[in-house]
């Protein structure tokens, strides 16, 4: 009997601690650091209206499910401990109870009510997030998913860029949200910046829309969330939320054609006499390929290859020499340039601000 008692206690103890640990860990980790820079990817640290609506709903759902968890857990643990078999009454069977209509009615109706509440709360947020009208001041961006990088087009502003999205911070009094049209050039992808909005997939032949109105400036991180092929893991996303002045300056810069620098004419010739120009565009030159990222203002970006490496001269050289060394499976081939051509083309790249 002592044995039995001990076992049930250990059972209860371990089970309980593990699960309590789980919930407290979830709470602690979820709250996490908030003002680090760049911003993290915590879904409970929202920095825009849709993310905030979702996060508030999430907390509500967590509280309700948390209460259910505690109550049912306690009932289960109680019955396991209270009704453990004892050696003294071995051989005698307990009272044979077959059911009870009242009790079963109760535990049918209460869950139904809870479900209705959770459904209404969800439907409200769905409507607020998905059916929000686009205000006149909104920025429009077309995001196109490629294996394994992002293309961003601002049709009204005449800007084409890649991998790092710039959007203005939105002042609630005079909102300037960004509305994205999501397209795909190849397989499915998913646009996910946890602190700015929930995910929306980019699916070929199925244009999607989403929006976000960041309330703080800074860099927000995310990455492709829908498995899209070999390098799904290194299809990272950076969103720079700029002050209105910074954003305007960035747009003006992007609208310029590429810098023409005579000192790197060799590099430019290498670029234009190799296949580079069939895959990449550099505005103001003959290079107008669309298979790879637009390089017109490459050096403005902090990272290359969709966040796979930081944008340093060494990384740039390594990338052009052998993209597989940084991002195995990437769709840019190793161009097998000789060392002098390589140096020249890297110098050319470095002038593209």
């Amino acid at each position: 009997m002592a044995m039995l008692k001990m076992k049930s206690w250990t059972l209860r103890f371990v089970a309980q601690t593990m699960l309590l640990l789980f919930w407290s860990a979830m709470a602690v980790w979820a709250i996490g650091p908030k003002d680090s820079s760049p911003h993290g990817t915590n879904i409970f640290a929202p920095a825009s209206t849709p993310a905030k609506a979702i996060s508030d709903l999430s907390v509500f759902v967590l509280v309700i499910t948390g209460i259910i968890f505690v109550v049912v857990f306690a009932l289960l643990a109680y019955s396991v401990i209270k009704f453990r078999g004892r050696a003294v009454d071995a051989g005698r069977e307990p009272a044979q109870v077959y059911g009870s209509t009242q009790i079963e009615l109760a535990w049918t109706i209460i869950p139904i009510l809870i479900v209705i509440v959770l459904f209404l709360a969800t439907a409200r947020v769905l409507h607020a997030v998905q059916d929000a009208p686009q205000p006149p001041g909104a920025i429009e961006v077309t995001a196109i998913g490629h294996q394994y990088w992002w293309e961003f087009r601002y049709p009204k502003l005449g800007v084409v860029t890649a991998n790092e999205l710039h959007i203005p911070v939105s002042n609630p009094a005079n909102p300037t949200p960004t509305f994205l049209t999501l397209l795909s050039a190849d397989t499915d992808h998913s646009f996910w910046i946890p602190e700015l909005a929930g995910k929306t997939d980019l699916i070929p032949n199925h244009p999607n829309r989403m929006w976000m109105d960041p309330l703080r400036t800074g860099i927000f991180l995310g990455q492709c969330a829908q498995y899209c092929g070999v390098q799904h893991a290194k299809m990272l996303l950076r969103v720079s939320v700029d002050s209105p002045a910074d954003f305007a300056a960035w747009v003006r810069g992007q609208q310029q054609p590429a810098v023409q620098d005579a000192s790197v004419a060799t590099g430019r010739r290498v670029f234009e006499s190799n296949a580079c120009m069939n895959c990449h565009a550099v505005a103001g030159t003959n290079a107008n390929g669309r298979f790879g990222p637009d390089l017109t203002h490459l050096m403005i970006r902090a990272t290359i290859a969709s966040g796979a490496a930081s944008n340093t001269p060494e990384n740039l050289r390594l990338w052009i020499q052998d993209p597989n060394a940084i991002k195995p499976g990437s769709l840019m081939p190793a161009m097998k340039l000789n060392d002098s051509d390589l140096d020249a083309v890297v110098s050319y790249m470095e002038t593209l601000r």
Binding site: V72, F83, R84, G198
Partner: protein
């Protein structure tokens, strides 16, 4: 009732040369042997897919780890998922259904014994084809390739443009072939339960295990058929110039998603309902009480069966359906929580006022209850479409469905193995090893899958072969991997127990657990014909009647 109806003489087995034994097993149409074959075959794949999982976990232990290449990683998670669902989960549950249903309803075999053997060998062939891709795929370019489009194989990744070579074809064929096997087994289970019950075994006296397997089989028919159709369409796309899913020729990626999830969601219930069945048989016996609310349990299962047919698009909350569709699939998904909750409460009601015996099968059942409760609640979170737009495609989902499939299905299967092993082999599994297995597996499971929710909330997507340091994902991932290895050790102990107890285990006798259903009325292992004379039953618990004549 008359007691002589269910007394069985022991059977004498003669020594035979091993070739003869092998031949008998390969050509068998006996439901018990086929059941055992299914179970062994599934355990083999459990080990294979388990090793794949461990390699995945080694790769994810540290950020920027280089244990495997991205290509290999993508094959590993595709093969792990496909194998666990189709060649471990379904077969092992079909194995138990095959073994137990006829015995529990007092029949001598399944309704169509030869269809049964055919279905098993089709499923076996499916698993073989999947792994044959490692040798045969990639045609002219050399071998050594495995499917890598993920276990949902979303279009257009499976189009020839993105999946050249033949690995995707092996994946398609494997699912096609085993799909026919599953349909055959489902028809067989339905026919057996509806037509082969012994005298007195009215539908409302059937053990819950039979009821739940009836619902499961019905769902297999409805769910596997669209998947099989979709596989044909995919083959047509790839080889006959069709454009169902070929987006570059105007096909629809969404169409595949609908086909796949209209199979995929019911599939999770196909896997969990048989485990509900195990709970509904084992918990009463070790609580020494009948199941609480039998009719409600049946109704709740049938209800789950129906409602879960209309929730599939909750796997598609991020694909851009409008707010009305998202709301619809939110309410249907949450609605499934009601009958599922009823089941948990009824198991609770069964234990309430009982005299619980903490035998190893019961330990697994108790852990199942706690874990299934948690999985159900995270399921409610995922069912809320707006919340899900953050959670879906992240590690939170991975944690949730492993909570149901490991914390639920695998714990349920272990409970069933400990409980029915004595019937199948005539010997009881060693209790000490069993408890060691249970506790280690429990600790490993919680370490891995409790923690796995966290990186999801912190923005870690699933299916990435490596990740950036400094996002709060590092330590958690290391601990998750450690938990995986603890589970692996527990499974090794279990395997040792299976072997050791087979030769040295305590003799079981007919009825080691003092249970109430018909399978315990015959010898362990049962003779080929199951029952010397067909039993006659007068209640839901024929052996209780026998042991408690005063109750009549």
């Amino acid at each position: 009732m008359s007691s002589n109806a269910i007394t069985i003489p022991g059977v004498q087995i003669d020594e035979k040369p091993w070739v003869d034994t092998l031949h008998e097993w390969v050509t068998t149409v006996d439901h018990k042997r086929l059941g055992v074959l299914y179970i062994l075959y599934a355990l083999l794949f459990l080990v294979v897919a388990g090793v794949e999982a461990l390699i995945i976990r080694i790769q994810l232990m540290f950020p920027h780890n280089h244990f495997v290449s991205p290509q290999v990683f993508n094959r590993l998670f595709t093969m792990h998922g496909t194998t666990m669902v189709f060649f471990m989960g379904m077969p092992i549950l079909f194995g138990f259904a095959n073994y137990l249903v006829p015995l529990m309803i007092g029949a001598r075999d399944m309704a169509f014994p030869r269809l049964n053997a055919f279905s098993f060998w089709l499923s076996a062939m499916g698993g073989f084809l999947l792994y044959f891709s490692l040798v045969g795929a990639n045609g002219l370019y050399g071998a050594g390739n495995a499917p890598d489009a993920g276990w949902w194989a979303y279009a257009p990744l499976t189009a020839r443009a993105f999946s050249p070579g033949h690995s995707t074809d092996y994946w398609t064929l494997a699912l096609l072939v085993s799909g026919f096997g599953s349909i055959g087994t489902a028809i067989n289970i339905i026919a057996t339960i509806l037509c082969m019950r012994c005298p007195g075994m009215k539908l409302n006296r059937m053990p819950l295990l039979a009821w739940l397997n009836l619902v499961m089989a019905g769902m297999v028919l409805l769910a596997v058929s669209p998947l099989t159709a979709a596989q044909f369409m995919l083959l047509i796309d790839r080889y006959l110039g069709g454009h169902f899913f070929d987006t570059q020729a105007g096909g629809s990626a969404m169409l595949w998603m609908h086909f796949f999830w209209i199979f995929g969601h019911p599939e999770v219930y196909v896997l969990i309902i048989p485990c509900f069945a195990f709970m509904s048989e084992i918990i009463p016996v070790f609580s020494r009480k009948p199941i609480f609310g039998y009719p409600v349990m049946v109704a709740a299962t049938v209800c789950i069966g129906f409602v879960s047919m209309s929730v599939w698009a909750h796997h598609m909350f991020s694909v851009g359906m409008n707010s009305y569709a998202n709301s619809f699939f939110t309410i249907t998904t949450m609605a499934v929580g009601v009958p599922t909750g009823i089941k948990i409460f009824n198991w609770l009601g069964t234990m309430w006022g009982g005299k619980i015996q903490f035998k190893v099968p019961m330990l697994f059942c108790i852990a199942f209850l706690f874990q299934f409760l948690t999985a159900g609640l995270t399921g409610i979170m995922l069912g809320s479409a707006a919340f899900d737009s953050q959670l879906t495609l992240s590690y939170f989902v991975v944690a949730h469905f492993h909570y149901t499939l490991v914390g639920g299905v695998v714990f349920g299967v272990f409970a069933a193995l400990y409980y029915w092993y004595p019937k199948i082999t005539g010997r009881i599994l060693n209790e000490t090893l069993g408890k060691l297995h249970f506790w280690l597996f429990l600790i490993g499971f919680h370490l891995t899958f409790d923690l796995m929710h966290i990186p999801g909330l912190l923005g870690m997507p699933r299916r990435i072969y490596t990740y950036e340091p400094g996002r709060g994902w590092d330590t958690v991932n290391l601990l998750i991997s450690v938990g995986g290895f603890i589970q692996a050790i527990a499974v090794v102990i279990f395997a040792a127990n299976l072997v050791v107890s087979y030769f040295k285990g305590k003799k079981a006798g007919n009825d080691p657990w003092d249970a109430w259903t018909l399978e315990w009325a015959t010898s362990s292992p049962p003779p080929a014909y199951n029952f010397a004379s067909i039993p006659l039953v007068a209640s839901r618990r024929p052996l209780w009647d026998l042991k408690h004549p005063e109750d009549q």
